[in-house]
């Protein structure tokens, strides 16, 4: 059975490690792909460069997108997704360590589907991953998205 891929866009290796650990503890076994910069994320989603093997790097069902990235920011990537004709329906959850209200507002204005604060506590991170699974992988209808050659 096909399992939805999750793309994590995160430049902090420690956060990636914790997130992977949380996915394991939450028993979410969906394939996890990681991009460490905004540019990398766009290349992944477009399926270009080192991501041109679309079988190895399938389109994700969900993107967990860190807001603060070197170079292109999470907002830049979100804007790119929402302006892309075939990818604009991709589900995007913004991740951040802060809870600045202006950032939350901006994320929703740009079309984010969720704004999540990274928990500092591992148990809470596991709970967050479980919630993501329930709502985005089990209960909800997934949008149709595709890459274009």
């Amino acid at each position: 059975m096909h399992r939805a891929t999750i793309l994590v866009v995160e430049d902090n290796d420690d956060h990636v490690f914790l997130l992977k650990h949380a996915f394991q503890k939450a028993e979410v076994t969906n394939p996890l792909q990681v991009a460490s910069t905004g540019e990398d994320a766009i290349a992944y989603l477009a399926g270009t460069g080192k991501y041109s093997d679309w079988q190895q790097f399938p389109l994700p069902s969900i993107v967990l997108l860190d807001l603060k990235l070197p170079g292109l920011t999470g907002f830049d990537v979100l804007k790119w997704i929402r302006q892309h004709p075939s990818l604009k329906a991709l589900r995007v959850a913004m991740l951040t360590s802060s809870d600045l209200s202006q950032e939350i507002k901006m994320a929703y204005e740009l079309g984010a589907n969720a704004f999540l604060t990274k928990p500092v506590d591992l148990d809470r991170l596991v709970e967050m991953v479980k919630m993501l699974r329930v709502h985005w992988l089990e209960f909800t209808q997934a949008p149709a998205i595709s890459r274009m050659r």
Binding site: K88, Y108, N113, A114, V134, H135, T140, Q141, A142
Partner: protein, 165 residues
């Protein structure tokens, strides 16, 4: 902090042209004792005042803005996507979480709603038991997953959402 009705309950606004479906959600909330304060609207016109200062019937004490909107996609003459779009472009209320509901499965409108910024898109469940699970987990998701953004009530006149798209 989410807006709440004073008794710790989060205001949930259900917009659906089916009175029966609204009743089912109300019952699911009640039977699961999920701490939502339930408000309802049958269409865009009756929903609009919930985002403005005076409330549905000009009631100044109503504990809104909503902490969560359940929004039926098919609202008869309009679509829920029209209202979703209006919410997302209206800066004071742009971060209200919106869960889209539909009686049918699949279709381009699912992507349309995610692209517009819906938090979730759910099929209306066929039975009350599943609806109860959904209502309960939506509350959990709201309090433990989503970081609430700033929401201000609209006091000035706002354009009709149907004229925006």
């Amino acid at each position: 902090v989410h807006s709440n009705s004073g008794d710790g309950k989060l205001p949930l606004l259900h917009i659906d042209d089916s009175a029966n479906d609204r009743l089912l959600v109300k019952v699911a909330i009640s039977q699961t004792k999920t701490p939502f304060a339930f408000y309802e609207a049958g269409g865009l016109e009756t929903a609009m005042p919930y985002f403005q200062f005076h409330g549905h019937d000009g009631e100044p004490k109503q504990p809104l803005p909503p902490a969560l909107v359940l929004l039926d996609y098919d609202l008869g003459d309009h679509t829920g996507a029209d209202l979703l779009y209006w919410l997302r472009v209206t800066k004071k209320i742009t971060s209200i979480p919106v869960v889209m509901l539909s009686g049918s499965v699949g279709g381009p409108y699912v992507g349309e709603c995610y692209a517009t910024g819906a938090n979730y898109f759910l099929s209306k469940p066929n039975d009350l038991a599943r609806l109860k699970i959904i209502v309960h987990t939506l509350h959990l998701s709201l309090v433990s997953l989503h970081q609430p953004g700033p929401i201000e009530l609209l006091q000035e006149y706002q354009p009709d959402p149907r004229n925006l798209r």
